[in-house]
């Protein structure tokens, strides 16, 4: 990417970028690049500028460029956040450090290996579990869920799995087996879902050693989250639910029931009907 001619370069910023190629480097090192920065330019734009004009060997991960996919999480001036969502001049006057997310292995340069996070995520069954397996495999209706019930877990559903919370977590920094904020918040998101019946199953994982009780409530995960999710709060909810379940004090609630047949819910007015299925 070259600087557009009609955009006036307002300042030169020195990028201190962590470089590491496991095939040739013994340890990560920092390389500096001085680039022209105009107002509104994101860190992702800056990295593109470096790759296109200065050093084509620089590697990082990105996709959507709009804070939705969660691919470009990295450490900017010591803070884990999304490169596409952060304007350079908002966080840097003269210098900007760019590093890979900590608490993960480095695949190359700014590319962290997120597999450990996704394995932990998978282990908490981050999906709706119903006792009726036939219904789960072949749904034949819609489950009724009130707006208030949706509200109970909605904020945890905004997670984009970027790994910023995992990188910011001080517990995970010392305990690699700790589940971490993202998987625990995902567990809470499904535990709170009235369509779900999998809480007892998830408790086996979240209430085990290196589960929710390892959280010290430092709250860095919630500060780091670029989507405004509050994983620290989710973990506290999770702890409370685990204790109530252990003491058999949790209120027993039947999961929400499905309506009879498809299309039985009341659609909001002025919403056009869905087109006919093509497959």
């Amino acid at each position: 990417m070259t600087m557009p001619e009609n955009s006036k370069a307002t300042r030169e910023i020195v990028f201190h970028v962590t470089r590491y190629n496991p095939e040739s480097d013994r340890a990560p090192y920092v390389k500096t690049y001085k680039i022209p920065v105009r107002e509104g330019m994101t860190v992702l734009d800056g990295l593109h500028y470096i790759k296109d004009n200065v050093d084509p060997t620089l590697a990082w991960r990105y996709s959507c460029r709009m804070g939705v996919c969660g691919s470009c999480g990295m450490l900017l001036n010591g803070r884990a956040t999304l490169a596409c969502n952060t304007q350079i001049l908002h966080i840097a006057d003269t210098d900007l450090t760019v590093g890979p997310l900590p608490n993960f292995e480095i695949i190359r340069d700014l590319v962290p290996d997120l597999m450990t996070m996704f394995e932990k995520h998978r282990s908490v069954k981050p999906y709706i579990v119903r006792a009726d397996e036939a219904e789960s495999n072949k749904p034949e209706g819609e489950f009724y869920q009130s707006p208030a019930e949706l509200e109970a877990y909605l904020q945890f559903a905004y997670c984009i799995k970027c790994g910023c919370c995992m990188a910011a977590c001080p517990t995970l920094a010392t305990d690699a087996r700790y589940l971490g904020p993202m998987p625990l918040a995902a567990a809470e998101r499904y535990d709170k879902d009235t369509r779900d019946e999998g809480r007892r199953d998830r408790n086996q994982r979240t209430g085990a050693s290196h589960g929710a009780f390892r959280c010290h409530y430092a709250g860095e995960c919630s500060r780091a989250c670029p989507k405004g999710v509050d994983p620290a709060k989710a973990i506290q909810y999770l702890k409370r639910q685990l204790v109530l379940d252990y003491l058999h004090l949790a209120r027993r609630k039947k999961p929400c029931q499905k309506m009879h047949g498809t299309g039985q819910g009341k659609p909001l007015p002025n919403i056009p009907t869905a087109p006919a299925k093509t497959v």
């Binding site: 050693s209 290196h210 702890k239 685990l242 252990y246």
Partner: protein, 127 residues
């Protein structure tokens, strides 16, 4: 779920410690003035007042309870700190076992001391 059990008891022990420490503060720092559980003259910590409390079954039970909950709470906290050093599962089991043995040992010793003091206080009262 075993960790949930440990943690629930850890929290419960904390609440009991808070209550018992409140009682301790009340007796030690206010008891000297109000003579609550310290009927003899002088400070609450004086030998006569201490023997008075040691001779009461309520206090003996309270001492043993405080010892038990404080040991559990403290040793579980120590275990949590040690587990964050990314120990191997086998080492974690060993740590749990060692702390259990140490805890039971200290609890046994403290219980023996509390009961012996209770007996001495009663005997002294009779004498």
């Amino acid at each position: 779920m075993r960790e949930t059990k440990y943690w629930t008891w850890h929290m419960s022990a904390g609440v009991v410690i808070l209550f018992l420490l409140g009682l301790h503060m009340l007796i030690m720092h206010v008891g000297g003035l109000t003579h609550l559980f310290a009927p003899h003259s002088g400070e609450a910590i004086s030998k006569e007042n201490s023997l008075f409390r040691d001779g009461r079954m309520f206090f003996t039970v309270t001492y043993i309870l405080l010892l038990g909950v404080a040991l559990y709470h403290g040793l579980y906290g120590l275990r949590t700190i040690l587990f964050e050093l990314t120990l191997k599962p086998a080492v974690e089991k060993a740590v749990t076992f060692v702390l259990l043995v140490v805890g039971l040992g200290l609890f046994g010793l403290g219980t023996w001391a509390a009961i012996t003091t209770h007996a001495i206080a009663i005997a002294g009262g009779r004498g």
